[in-house]
Subunit: 303 residues, 4 copies
């Protein structure tokens, strides 16, 4: 097991300009240590968000990790073996003017804000507890991806290279496929979530520090446009854009083309059949780009 810890400052952008914090070979199991999205600084419910994190120093990422053998226009597979939650409580609540159901910087309004809330919720018996209510843990990486080409994008914005997709599909047992746009792939991750509903509508999941335990693999010479997720049962694409129908269009067109190419269907047939078999889940509707997961069951594609 290769342990990867951030030796210096965490990163707030997905960028090829940051020095790699580790070089790792493919095939080896790696444990990447991450702080929570508040850099583990929110420890008391009396704190305010602005006390601990200020734009644009938000959502600290561990990385970049240089994966040996990955070159531009390859695909980087991230086999997620485990997501270890390293604290027995999570932070949740409401951040002012963030989330789907309030005016924000982008959906700018003249109305007032929802109340600011910082809430520590205990984790025990494999569950997150909210007063007497509880849910099973289903940890995943809120933010995970590779560096874009040329740009440095803030760690709040998901896009074609992954990033802050906030999709529960980036969990143990699944394989994430990411585009490689720079040599070494330059992998980042952070923003562990102990559990989260689809959409992250209030803007804050059950935020926890985690270790991502994974193995990297490289598919040479296969360039993909958008992140994919695979497991035993489904093929999935995650599209990110605004408005939400454009995120859906991105995910759906990529999935149609993928199925047509890999299963030898013509594109029209693939569209008609996927129309009957698609699962479409809202990934996030709180971040600068919204995310949608388009999934097709493998069983629908095999005679």
């Amino acid at each position: 097991m290769i342990e990867v810890r951030q030796p210096g400052p965490y990163r707030y952008t997905y960028s090829a300009d940051h020095a790699a914090v580790a070089r790792v070979p493919t095939g080896r199991q790696v444990r990447i240590h991450c702080v929570d999205c508040f850099e583990n600084r929110l420890v008391d419910e009396s704190q305010r968000y602005a006390d601990v994190c200020q734009y644009p120093y938000l959502n600290p990422q561990t990385g970049p990790v240089y994966v040996e053998g990955a070159e531009e226009d390859d695909t980087l597979l991230v086999h997620i073996d485990d997501i270890e939650i390293t604290r027995d409580w999570a932070v949740t609540g409401l951040v002012p003017r963030f989330g789907l159901l309030t005016g924000t910087d982008a959906t700018a309004m003249l109305t007032g804000a929802l109340p600011e809330v910082v809430r520590k919720v205990p984790i025990r018996d494999g569950r997150v507890w909210f007063g007497g209510l509880s849910r099973p843990l289903s940890p995943f990486m809120g933010t995970i991806g590779t560096a874009p080409k040329l740009e440095a994008i803030n760690a709040l914005t998901p896009s074609s290279y992954g990033g802050n997709m906030d999709c529960p599909e980036t969990c143990a047992g699944n394989t994430l496929h990411l585009p490689v746009r720079n040599d070494g792939g330059l992998f980042f991750c952070g923003d562990g979530h102990a559990t989260q509903g689809h959409g992250e509508i209030g803007g804050v999941a059950c935020e926890v520090p985690v270790n991502l335990v994974c193995r990297f693999e490289v598919i040479k010479g296969q360039a993909i446009g958008w992140p994919r997720v695979t497991n035993d049962t489904h093929l999935m694409v995650i599209g990110s854009a605004r408005p939400l129908e454009d995120a859906t269009r991105i995910a759906a067109t990529e999935l149609v083309r993928w199925v047509a190419a890999d299963y030898g269907m013509d594109a029209t047939d693939a569209l008609i059949w996927i129309t009957q078999t698609l699962e479409l889940r809202v990934g996030n509707v709180c971040d600068p780009n919204y995310s949608v997961v388009a999934a097709v069951p493998r069983a629908a594609l095999i005679a």
Copy 2:
């Protein structure tokens, strides 16, 4: 069992101006006979859509059914006992300039169209077959709702009264809650789907004639803003609007308020907890309004 058949022409609008085709009491099982969305006229793959149906005479509905005892500002419950598919094949395919991944009347473009396709797909062994591929039947009503107040809305457009939501949640075993905006509720249904993926992205599901077998119930003096669906495991709201994030906002705010009211949570707590527990599925992204299903597990709401 009360049998309801359309005695005269099918209806292409949701409107209180149409004469009721039946008066039914609450509590009794009713079987409502429906043609498919092409009025059962597409029987051969050589036909074109424009040969059999022309705007605005689209998506023929059976109704309105007058439910005794339903008055304005009540809620009409539709307990769906069964959806009987009454043909051993379905129609699917592609309608020109309809669907998510082509320019349409609303998302108007100067680019060309996808090919027009009419495809008959067999139903046997409890499955729909597409060449050698198949999926289990999961029949539901594509279009179902009550008459709006004062307006007459085409049967392609879902809105607060239901209508063409194209959500698989309106299936056997579930209870649909509809607003009552006119005396008798004035219930319509049609557009049976043998199966359909989320979003109906290509614009055409596996279209079949069906009988809706259901029982009506009235909740007196409870006005709801948008359709709800309940079953043993989930509370759901279906919102319909464009862009898709507004459909999501509608469904999510209604669900937060519903949970807050019925489970005695304050609205802020309800928002925070639903953020952790929500399921958000895309209902349709092909109709004049898009639909989103917001669902919360009952298990998340009980200590």
Copy 3:
């Protein structure tokens, strides 16, 4: 001059099911008397909106006017000669949860509302006065159009038949082109505005009762998809949809096709040249559909 007054109740829907209030020949000048959007009932700043108008009985229209000789798939021209303001004050203000910069029924939010405001503003010296500030009168019809086919649409929603577009372009000196979808055209109008900025962002213009003085003309056998406006200097199309880019797409594609057809340009050239010459103004961003005006100067189209 033919005087048209609403003999019975005003109409709250655009529909072919209402009996015509007048039959008028083409070519004759007609004066159509309209109440303001609050049915002239708001006369004191201490009143609340809900005291005088309740959904769906909003935005009362005069009509329908049956224009002799107009048949389905013709175009109805409305030459607007004058819009006479018939009161020396206007109503403006803020309606709760209506407008661009607040949560609404469609852009549903959990945040609070802006304050409700009813304000009477005087009209004198050809200007509207807001305290010491003033603007010149520029009266236009907020709502104007023809009945849709089969449907009855509330008078708040603009669409392909016109309706509540809230575009200052429907003013004296301009000619409005409307699709004819029923015999007689079945023309409605109302919602006079003494002046209004683009977008009507707060949701309430300077609302006044007006008389529309106009002459009708029919172009036989020319079906148009969306309302057009012409004057000596410009060709314009008004598109209405959500999101706002779809309203823009509708208006722009119609304009490109119109110019290509009438000026003998190929569609590609028309698109390239209109890209250099287009004026795009936001019509309304407060109604159930948003409106955009796409205008091209005639001077750009003549060698």
Copy 4:
């Protein structure tokens, strides 16, 4: 006059990481030499776009220019004295899958593309000529802004720091106000347009190399959220986002707050009055963020 030319490679990102190409004092006239958006490489109509420019090396910018005395949270004023077109022809045409009326990377579709067109159009007699048709020159900077904090954003995307807004308002005679997010402001510009209609709907304006002649001024201690433009007659804000209504919301809220603050109106009054006096023009509807210009006449704000 200080001449600023790019000594090394042009820049394809707005970023504080690039070395300044010049340090200039405030108050002095500066002439900044820019290539066109195709880096002056498209010189023949037989060329294809992909032959000369490939993502992400698009829309080359001159800069950054370090303005002495500008510090974070100041405002940088750019008084635009002249935009000198330095070629007697422009490039226009259609880029595949770019523009409002075709499927794109974001509004992903399965339909075909519009034809690729490269067209050289002559400039003479103060006009751009398209066959026998012509329009007066109205040159402006398509892309102009300051470096963001921490991020490096591609030069195609307008945002709160300016960038590729493609608004004709950035022309001679107007003053552009930009946020300063790094010491020296770090000003970039490029993408000269000889003329362009609102929206740049086809995706390509009349593209020319230009010199921007301007004077810088710094307002100390005034942080602004979004670019503003002022001249003798209007106050304007440019908002950029998707969907287009969010760009409108950004521009409108900033303008309401600006007017309320500078003219001593309360925010409610400012909203009501701006509703009556606003001009709303679509800036661009082809770039990764859309832009809207919200303008209020100074005359409406003075008693």
